[in-house]
Symmetry: C2
Subunit: 224 residues, 2 copies
């Protein structure tokens, strides 16, 4: 039982989902967790700020160690629980190099997705420009096409022949694209990857609860 | 001799500098390297694009493995050369957790620095707003204060009592702040950290060549 861990999370946040997938893969059950609300601005509440001074989800503690950065939490848990649950780091140097490379390219994908989806949230009304929206969409399209190419020869995983840290960290980003309306027909390799992993127990058990309902946001990326 | 590695880099790029520090700490000398020019847009040249499809520095290859993402390169080299050169990963779980946490918080610091320094580069003239400049500066100030606090009890390193991957990855970000005019008197802990490490051989040997000359950019962060 992982009662010495605490996760404060928001539904639909890829960083939160990463940690939850990681905990599940490492068979770390029974941790303290609390679903909080973005809409109610609970990421700026005292209980979150006490752990995460930037006021962001997730706020994650392992014993007394603060690991709010989801990549930090995943890399740490993989070392701490090396021989427990799924082995998520390949031994083969070629696969290892590719795993790390794709993990960190994931930042680029999530950043460009955020620039499109959160434009109105991040940019005050009097500073918005259609030209910026167009540029952001073009940058995201170029990025998504890159990943579509990466997955052309996939064996069901992002890198190598088994589920690894690259899937733990990047799958939530890709799921977020499809939740936001990315066209499965236009990106068949991404769609195949997504559909092949969405029922994996660690992923399915932690599917963002509010994604079970439909939402206007589901068309935002239809042109990408 | 590390003749099976190739690095195409730009002067002053924190991601490039990270890889160079890492190679030096791991005693990997004699790698193929080529200094290219941002001004001449050589990051969009064929030789860079052949390795890095995003057209960014660094473009880095280890044998046939592409490791353009600097964090990926550092984590990979640390595993591949575990017992060669400096040991950069602590054994103590508490130090390990903090090392990873600060490494990934480094993304936040670099991103907020970039939003201030590259505003004119990234935003076309007709989309610029003074209110956005002010907001970006405020966000960076908040971020820099956080790091100033983190370093209050430093023993000369970002985490723990020895030079680690957190220093390899975050020192270039902090050096970049001071290069851009951050006030040493206003941030004494950051300045102490910076001055304590700037003559470390791996760092000094790879100091961005163009930083040896003065530049208008050296006042850009004076108000932060």
């Amino acid at each position: 039982m992982a009662q010495d861990m605490t996760l404060l999370w928001g539904s639909g946040s890829p960083p939160c989902w990463r940690i939850m997938i990681m905990l599940e893969e490492k068979e770390l059950k029974g941790y303290n967790q609390k679903l909080l609300s973005f809409e109610k601005k609970e990421h700026k509440s005292k209980e979150v700020l006490d752990i995460n001074p930037r006021g962001q989800f997730p706020a994650f503690k392992y014993k007394d160690y603060i690991l709010n950065e989801s990549y930090a939490a995943c890399l740490f848990l993989e070392i701490q629980y090396k021989s427990q649950g799924t082995k998520l780091t390949p031994d083969c140097p070629m696969e290892l190099a590719l795993m790390y490379q794709r993990m960190f390219e994931g930042f680029s994908l999530l950043q460009k997705t955020g620039q499109v989806l959160y434009y109105d949230y991040n940019v005050p009304e009097n500073e918005r420009h259609e030209s910026a929206r167009t540029r952001n969409k073009e940058a995201l399209t170029t990025e998504v096409k890159l990943w579509e190419g990466y997955l052309a020869s996939s064996s069901g995983f992002l890198t190598g022949k088994t589920f690894s840290l690259s899937d733990v960290t990047v799958f939530p980003n890709i799921a977020y694209l499809f939740r936001s309306g990315l066209c499965e027909k236009r990106y068949p390799n991404l769609a195949k990857y997504y559909n092949g992993l969405k029922d994996r127990p660690s992923i399915k058990a932690n599917w963002p609860p509010h994604w079970k309902e439909s939402c206007e946001c589901q068309v935002l990326l239809k042109d990408i």
